[in-house]
């Protein structure tokens, strides 16, 4: 009876969610335990106990974590050194000249360099953009570097030489020699083999800074949960990867947490056969949104982290700094929500832990949406009076009632969210109103109907296990590995034989990590995407293709995509900037309806307010017992989440426990 459970966990800032599935019987268990920022491994082991299992019961353990992201954002990073081409060693300090805020002199215009100037080494060597060596790297220069490194005693170094993406020869020479004296070496041509020196160097420096943290944390996990290859983490591109592969490139974990939620959404989108889905994951401090088209999440080339660029292929998750804890302000300039947040400490006033500023969650509490009997994660209760006290001053200032004010706050919050949805759809030239909104996270199901109304979306799905949805994603995701390589070839006069060889070689490289995990070759699919642009453009747009390469087809598909995005296309010559290959073993995991119960017996009715319907006694429905259509207004609850169903909306459950929300046909 041992070793039959597969576990997914999502380690968030406040809570660690866990979901366990028993393969033979499909039994599913869910729990939520407080996170331990200073002992994350301990929290994971506690989570296993919380679902009533022993470590020896676990066959696979997959986790999504914000550990690396938080270390970067909170600037708790170890000291590293940067080795750059002479004349370019200040690249991180220079950045791209731009300041982050146009009109504020009180804040520093740019993020501080990740590497202080005395830790930047100018290496005498030089390549050109075609990879030709203009100045060879001399032995004496390597020795000078080694002497300097020994003197600094630094443990992790980033090597980012000019044009290394075109020819890694000098970086590779250094790698051989540095291995002996420095435990951690990050090379720019491995971390991010793409042109533009600041972005590549920044990404490489991030990797170097994350490496000691990642290795320490992952090693502890391996030691305390010794299940070998069954121990996996979730990577930014939306799939799982064995721990051994992460230690050298911890940066792939940078978007691990949000990516797991998107992966779960991908499974649901495929299962429900929804061709266009917008994910809406609203948490305490941030909200993440992502677009899924035809069962595939959109990919991005990178993102800003702590105002510094991190460039590598990842799910195109757009995060905004607004969540339940965002603070509401009223001033002469109007009413605004965020970007300041009450965070998890002290949190919203209604959590009764010393919060004194009005937040979105307080508005939700005041409207009656939160069950006053429930204890979140066994420790946080809801104090509606405290919410009223902090919203009162705003209501007085506006000359409105408390309820009207709270409803207004929710509308403004939804406008902020709508902006994030718009961002991810317009970047892909898609009309968000044609999408299904998939709402999860603590706040997603509460705000979904209001947001949909504002944005013009007509269908919402609140998935089963919506509160532990990211943890679920860890289990239901495909096993996959992704690589991207710069080709930079013009379609006119393309050398088809050579390009075909390069693409096929890339595909085969991508398969290797899967084969290493005993996945049979014939169950692996390789998906190819060309990143294409007009010769004179900088930004490339993704165009999926299959082998054998059909150049005319590719050109046509590019023109169609360009027209979709920008409304026009010309006959200029176009270029394949790079090719992205993803090897994937499609997931076969099916999740049955999880057993979850209401912790606190809900009263059958509660006084709630909605737009256009104030102070109405509202039905409170136990979601786990729901079998038929519910007409709003109603509140639908399970142990950890609340679905708000306004008047003129209806909720329909399916047999897997997903809820469909739609306007009642009038």
């Amino acid at each position: 009876m041992t070793n039959i459970w597969e576990i997914g966990t999502d380690i968030g800032g406040t809570f660690t969610d866990i979901i366990a599935i028993r393969r033979d019987t499909s039994e599913t268990r869910i729990a939520k335990v407080p996170s331990r920022p200073h002992a994350p491994v301990q929290a994971m082991l506690e989570a296993i106990e919380a679902v009533g299992l022993r470590r020896s019961d676990v066959k696979r353990f997959i986790h999504g974590t914000t550990r690396i992201t938080n270390a970067i954002v909170e600037e708790r990073l170890p000291k590293i050194a940067l080795i750059a081409t002479k004349g370019f060693e200040d690249v991180l300090e220079i950045a791209r000249y731009r300041r982050r805020d146009l009109y504020r002199l009180d804040i520093a215009p740019k993020a501080k360099s990740l590497v202080p100037r005395e830790m930047c080494f100018a290496l005498d060597e030089r390549l050109d953009h075609e990879g030709q060596v203009l100045k060879p790297l001399a032995e004496a220069e390597i020795e000078r570097l080694i002497a300097w490194l020994k003197e600094t005693g630094v443990e992790s170094v980033a090597v980012s030489l000019l044009h290394a993406y075109a020819n890694p020869v000098h970086e590779q020479m250094l790698a051989e020699r540095l291995k002996a004296i420095v435990p951690y070496v990050s090379l720019s041509h491995e971390i991010n083999p793409e042109a533009r020196e600041y972005e590549r160097t920044s990404s490489t420096a991030f990797n170097a800074a994350a490496m000691p943290i990642a290795v320490e944390y992952l090693s502890e996990l391996e030691e305390r949960l010794p299940i070998g290859a069954g121990l996996q983490v979730f990577h930014s591109a939306g799939a799982m990867i064995p721990i051994s592969a992460v230690k050298r490139r911890p940066l792939v974990m940078a978007m691990s947490g949000p990516a797991a939620g998107v992966a779960a959404s991908v499974s649901i989108a495929r299962q429900l056969k929804k061709s266009r889905v917008l994910t809406f994951d609203m948490g305490g401090t941030t909200t993440d949104v992502c677009l899924i088209v035809d069962g595939q999440a959109e990919m991005a080339d990178g993102k800003m982290l702590g105002d510094r660029p991190l460039r590598q292929p990842m799910l195109a998750v757009h995060s905004i700094g607004a969540g339940g804890g965002s603070i509401v302000r009223a001033g002469a300039g109007g009413l605004t929500v965020g970007p300041e947040s009450a965070g998890s400490e002290p949190g919203p006033a209604c959590y009764g832990r010393g919060g004194t500023k009005p937040t979105i969650t307080d508005a939700n509490a005041l409207l009656g949406y939160l069950n006053p009997e429930t204890k979140l994660g066994d420790r946080i209760g809801i104090d509606v009076d405290a919410a009223a006290r902090v919203i009162e001053p705003i209501a007085q200032g506006l000359g409105l009632s408390l309820t009207e004010t709270a409803l207004g706050i929710i509308r403004v919050a939804n406008a902020t969210m709508a902006r994030a949805l718009r961002r991810v759809t317009v970047e892909r030239g898609i009309d968000g109103r044609d999408c299904t909104l998939l709402a999860f996270g603590g706040g997603g199901p509460m705000h979904a109907a209001g947001l949909a109304e504002l944005y013009g979306i007509t269908e919402i799905v609140v998935p089963a296990a919506s509160s532990a949805f990211s943890a679920l994603g860890c289990l239901t995701a495909d096993f996959s590995f992704l690589q991207q390589q710069t080709l930079r070839v013009a379609l006119d006069g393309i050398d088809l034989t050579r390009v075909t060889q390069r693409i096929e070689a890339l595909g085969e490289q991508t398969v290797v990590p899967l084969l290493a995990n005993a996945i049979p070759r014939d169950s692996i699919q390789i998906e190819l995407v060309a990143l294409m642009r007009y010769a004179a453009q900088a930004d490339a747009i993704p165009v999926p293709f299959t082998m054998p390469l059909d150049v005319d087809r590719l050109r046509q598909d590019f023109l169609v995509k360009h027209r979709e995005l920008f409304g026009y296309a010309t006959n200029e010559s176009c270029v394949i900037e790079s090719v992205r290959a993803q090897a994937r073993q499609p997931s076969t995991t099916e999740v049955s309806r999880p057993t979850t119960v209401l912790r606190a017996k809900a009263a059958p009715k509660r006084r709630c307010s909605f737009d256009g319907a104030l102070d109405v006694m509202t039905d409170v429905i136990d979601r786990s017992a729901m079998t038929s259509v519910v007409i709003g207004p109603a509140i639908i609850e399970d142990a950890w989440s609340t679905v708000v169903l306004p008047a003129q909306w209806q909720a329909t459950p399916d047999s897997n426990g997903n809820l469909y929300l739609a306007k009642v046909a009038s």
């Binding site: 731009r98 953009h129 042109a195 020196e197 509308r411 709508a418 961002r423």
Partner: protein
């Protein structure tokens, strides 16, 4: 109409999001490196009267001038002559303009038969004809020498983009291929803005939308009035100088007299110098743009930048001065040099009143170098590159190194992108350590960048201020180092004029050392 405060906020979000989306569309589809790498473009939305109501996170000097771009346009092109689907293009200084390179593409947005807004795209074209590749001529005698002048023309109508006009533009610029792609990008950008505005109108009703725009002006006006009321009444004077172009080519004076009275402020620039002898003249709209930025800094508040915020401000310029030099004066560089000197003069005027809201003098020059290389077919390949200097220090922190300040915010073009696209090698791209002025908080350091020419010849334009007169320190802080521009030809090192046009040859190395920021407080 009853307006609830929440609807106004929802519409405000919608407008900002729409303007940001416009810039995104523009950057992603642009051809010129200046637009796609450096981001020298801006997007805005105005109300039906042409008052600014929404803007992207772009370039403050553009955004400030765009507050006038539509208002002035409507004086010569009455709204009644516009139809659904029309898109106008123009660049004249007299129409709320700044310099001829900044081409505006404007689309009126109709809803239920009426114009409810305008979507505006501004983009700096790397070349727009004229005497010299890049359209900056330091010693131009008039604006006809500078570039092609475009009055408001319908570049598109409901029937589509006018091929004749596109052809007309293409034959008058030196990089026609990029020009066409950039122009289509600008048109697409206004289309994106239009779609979002129509959505907002549908969602909230036309009447609500229009009322909300008017309310947004009122809110910003109230905020600005409250801020000015918080400043002590009085008359404050400040002045700073451009390096040259004044009488006898001496430094040119920029002077401001600020009168704060109750909740209103007057900025009188009349005592500034007369029309200058180089391309640093500018338009009154640029003066207003610089004042609008400075007033926002003086307010110490975060507010929606729109037409309402300008209402409590009176801005006076004198005919015949550098700010009203006549309709045909050369103005290419005034956009980013003279405008910044106004900010400097205002900060100096207010230094004893609100020092904690200001910063010491920063790198208030574009530090622009533009390179042009002829192609085989007679067209030209353009690289327009600005450089960052040091930020001025503040009362509680040192200035940041290598930063664009105040009205400017364009990026560098990465060395790896330059080398892949031009016959230029970037030999060095470093911090000019120690160039920031000393102080209790030192000023930020500038950058130093060297370009080696690999082509047989290359046309260069320089536009570098602060070579003579350094960025000031405040409260006893030392000024930053002045900028330097040198040409290394063989073993010879030659000083290059800050405002010049010259032809470089193979293996020439041009080096710019940008000025540092001023320090704050005694060291």
């Amino acid at each position: 109409m009853k307006l609830d405060p929440f609807a106004v906020e929802v519409i405000r979000h919608g407008l900002s999001a729409a303007a940001e989306e416009m810039s995104l569309v523009m950057t992603r589809s642009a051809r010129s490196p200046l637009l796609r790498e450096a981001g020298d473009l801006s997007s805005a939305i105005t109300d039906a009267q042409g008052e600014l109501v929404g803007q992207g996170r772009d370039i403050p000097v553009h955004l400030g001038a765009m507050a006038y771009t539509i208002r002035e346009l409507l004086k010569v092109v009455p709204a009644a002559t516009l139809s659904e689907g029309d898109v106008l293009i123009y660049n004249l200084g007299a129409l709320g303009g700044n310099h001829l390179n900044d081409v505006k593409v404007v689309r009126p947005v109709f809803f239920e038969g009426d114009i409810v807004a305008f979507a505006v795209s501004l983009a700096h074209w790397p070349d727009i004809g004229g005497t010299w590749p890049g359209s900056y001529l330091a010693k131009a005698i008039d604006t006809f020498q500078e570039a092609l002048r475009i009055p408001p023309i319908k570049v598109a109508t409901a029937a589509g983009v006018s091929d004749a006009i596109v052809q007309f533009l293409k034959v008058n610029v030196r990089d026609p291929e990029s020009c066409e792609g950039d122009l289509l990008g600008q048109i697409a950008c206004t289309l994106a803005g239009k779609k979002r505005i129509i959505e907002l109108c549908k969602q909230h009703s036309k009447a609500m939308f229009v009322a909300a725009l008017s309310r947004l002006h009122d809110l910003s006006e109230a905020e600005m009035r409250e801020a000015i009321l918080g400043l002590p009444d009085g008359v404050y004077e400040g002045e700073d100088f451009l390096d040259d172009g004044g009488p006898g080519d001496e430094p040119a004076r920029i002077h401001v007299k600020i009168t704060i009275k109750g909740d209103e402020a007057t900025f009188d620039l009349s005592e500034s110098c007369d029309r200058v002898s180089n391309f640093c003249n500018t338009t009154s709209f640029i003066a207003k743009s610089a004042v609008a930025y400075s007033a926002r800094i003086m307010s110490g508040r975060d507010m929606q930048q729109n037409g309402g915020a300008l209402r409590p401000l009176t801005i006076i310029t004198r005919p015949g001065s550098i700010f009203e030099p006549g309709l045909t004066a050369p103005v290419a560089a005034g956009n980013h040099e003279t405008s910044l000197r106004i900010v400097d003069a205002i900060f100096l005027a207010m230094q004893d009143v609100i020092p904690e809201r200001l910063s010491s003098g920063g790198a208030t020059t574009s530090g622009m170098l533009s390179f042009a290389e002829p192609r085989q077919d007679g067209s030209w390949k353009m690289l327009y590159e600005v450089h960052a200097g040091g930020e001025g220090a503040r009362h509680n922190r040192a200035g940041c190194a290598a930063t664009r300040v105040h009205l400017t915010n364009t990026s560098n073009t990465p060395a790896e992108a330059i080398e892949a696209n031009y016959n230029i090698r970037v030999e060095q791209q470093a911090i000019r350590w120690g160039s920031g002025g000393a102080g209790a908080y030192p000023g930020g350091d500038g950058v130093v960048r060297s370009y080696r020419i690999l082509a047989s010849s290359m046309h260069l334009t320089s536009c570098v201020e602060r070579k003579l007169i350094p960025p000031f320190g405040l409260k006893g802080g030392a000024p930053g180092e002045t900028a330097r521009l040198t040409l290394t030809r063989g073993s010879e090192v030659i000083d290059v004029e800050g405002k010049s046009n010259l032809v470089l040859q193979r293996d020439d190395v041009i080096t710019i050392e940008m000025c540092g920021g001023g320090g704050y407080g005694r060291a």
